[in-house]
Subunit: 412 residues, 2 copies
């Protein structure tokens, strides 16, 4: 089998993993996948694109958790061992690379060019392509490090490829050569209304910034984002799109959301998740006689659609989970979720701290930035589903089985 | 077990059964039910109410077909043997009584009183109650006969109760004593817009009547209907309600319809049929990737609701079946349909001449009155479902199993 890689686009900030959370996973790779390179698997490269500040690191933790593995942490031991300031997260099966490391210039350099890091011209795609090609071929690389604190480009670090390499950042699908290397790609699409609501909530309500300054900072970023990042949505195999809820008129805080899980049709080794009847169009309000939900409840929709010129299958969730019962109820009514035991999706969400109590389908983790102690914003339904689907994709592509341990009982 | 009876409200006209159609059924009662009275079953009484002219006889044929039995035909041999002009249809398991036979006065008498047959005062509920009570107790009765041709009351006929007695007509649930005798009740509710569309289609388009005369005839009948017949909807265990379609704007011919199958909650021995997830609210458009349908397609809805003060579960179908594949596809996705083998609902519809080609959920048969050669209006999805549910109800109540013969293959 040809060497393969997976790519994730990485949030500039917040790449710091919670070691405890990752170690407490009871998903473990099987014997074969415990090697740095699988004998028969090769490297699978996954790309995850999103705006920075959209909580992609949460997704990355989720994905790493689902792929399992031990010795999870920053490359070189990071914080605990006084290692260098890396953006790379590794376990014995998975490597997560932050594409900010391929910024062409440091912060000072960008002041000279007058371009933002969103601009394609501020990213070294030649080097990105060469190095990801090397990783996919099973070879080690010396990758630059972008220091998010100082805005400097630090001494390169050596990356030895694992079975799964995730590249996360602003532009994993922007360069055609890099895009071609990706085995699977995902785009976290926070729509403008929701970005604005979240930013208002955080910067105005909590930090006292003015509405004007918030609007200004959003508008300053938007043209480059729309020009250089957003177009990648059309290239993604899965887009997780976060929209304002339809269930509450004029919900302005972005606490209740509608999330679309947009799955490209015709992708090899990927069968879209569906609701009840594959290929038909369905609306489902599970809250009723068997399941009671508090206002505004949950509403699902499913069906074929078109997205940026592609035939897609969309699974949509509006509203939020209020308790464990709702979550498991919904999970048990979905098909093609790629779970390995009953309730695995629910279990993964609980492990990641998405404790039901106030939950939604985004799983972007952005809304709780700076409010780690407030699990009420924790999300992750579709992000967890994406992780499970990517695990399934990986297994089909590589022929390597990821072993998981089903718990005796799913506990809250 | 207490003696039990079932009651159907009978169309004044069109009670003439097609013997061939009924005999060709391959549903047969088991050994026990081949007796006139089941040893352990008693008599189950079913009531079916509807406006005359709404094709209840079609439903009656359907129900008789599903309950099976042999020697199906008019009481006494009817037409073939030169028997009397009966309204009663019998098989060895089922008796269908037309409640028009309990009209108080003949047509001439009503000219004197100035009342329509819809008026409660024109029906002899004392006699109806006494005689149905006797039937339910297993005793024979001498029932009057209302001659629909002459409008006269003819010499009474003897009715010996079978296991299942269906009373069909305008007022099966109007008298509290009679209502109390019914084990199961159903109301065929053709809404005014649809009645009007059908009448226009038949009397104006096909028979050349004027729009004014049609409107006049509908309006003349409406006050008594609304006062004496319609209120029974609140007492029915199941209401089949026929409405204009939502799929085609301004559909005026009543060819494409929306039909609601309204099932009362809490009825013993009756578990409402449902779609995908019992107790939730669902909209389903099965036409999509796996099933392609021509315009306007089919759309289903399901969920809890309230109807005339009762808690109900509603299963709704809008649109029409265009081919056998659609019909079997839909059937296979419904639950609690009380079928005894895969495809029985579809098979029953085919047997009744509801050949897919242009079908809807009404099953009232009214639209094809006078156009027997045009199967395009044939319906029956929910009427067939009602028949299956009534068979199931009968089995649970009586402890008698109705045996059916699954075909080797469902053929069109």
């Amino acid at each position: 089998m040809a060497k393969i890689i997976l790519a994730l686009a990485l949030a500039a900030q917040a790449l710091v993993p919670t070691r405890t959370a990752l170690k407490s996973t009871n998903v473990r790779a099987n014997a074969r996948s415990e090697m740095t390179m699988a004998a028969d698997g090769g490297v699978v490269l996954i790309g995850v694109a999103a705006d920075s500040g959209c909580g992609k690191s949460t997704f990355m933790r989720r994905l790493t958790g689902i792929f399992g593995g031990t010795n999870v942490g920053p490359l070189g031991g990071g914080f605990d061992n006084g290692g260098w300031e890396t953006n790379t997260l590794v376990s014995d099966t998975t490597t997560v690379i932050c594409l900010d490391d391929y910024h062409l210039n440091d912060r000072g350099g960008r002041k000279v060019t007058g371009r933002t890091a969103l601009d394609l011209a501020e990213n070294n795609f030649d080097l990105m392509y060469e190095q990801l090609k090397e990783l996919k071929a099973g070879n080690a690389i010396k990758k630059p490090i972008y220091n998010h604190v100082n805005g400097t480009l630090d001494t390169p670090e050596e990356i030895t490829p694992t079975q799964i390499v995730i590249v996360e950042g602003l532009h994993p699908m922007a360069d055609p050569r890099v895009r071609e290397l990706l085995d699977f790609s995902l785009y976290l699409d926070i729509t403008d209304d929701v970005k604005f609501a979240w930013k208002i909530q955080r910067d105005m309500v909590e930090r006292g910034h003015s509405l004007e300054s918030i609007q200004q900072s959003i508008e300053a970023r938007k043209p480059d984002f729309d020009a250089f990042v957003a177009p990648q949505r059309g290239d993604a195999d899965v887009v997780i799109q976060v929209l304002p809820t339809d269930l509450i008129p004029d919900e302005k805080e972005g606490k209740v959301l509608k999330v679309k899980f947009i799955q490209k049709e015709g992708k090899a080794n990927f069968d879209p998740a569906y609701l009840f009847d594959e290929g038909s169009t369905i609306e489902w309000t599970p809250c009723g006689k068997k399941l009671t939900c508090s206002y505004p409840g949950i509403k699902f929709a499913y069906g074929p659609d078109e997205f940026l010129g592609n035939d897609v299958t969309v699974l949509e969730m509006d509203g939020k989970f209020d308790n464990l019962q709702e979550l498991i109820y919904v999970e048990s009514h979905l098909s093609n979720t790629a779970t390995k035991f009953y309730g695995e999706l629910t279990q993964q969400m609980i492990k990641m701290g998405d404790s039901p109590g106030s939950d939604n389908g985004t799983g972007t983790g952005a809304a709780d930035r700076g409010r780690i102690a407030t699990p009420s914003f924790r999300a992750g339904f579709f992000q967890t589903l994406a992780s499970l689907k990517i695990r399934e994709f990986y297994e089909k592509l590589s022929g390597v089985e990821v072993e998981v341990e089903a718990p005796a009982k799913v506990a809250a």
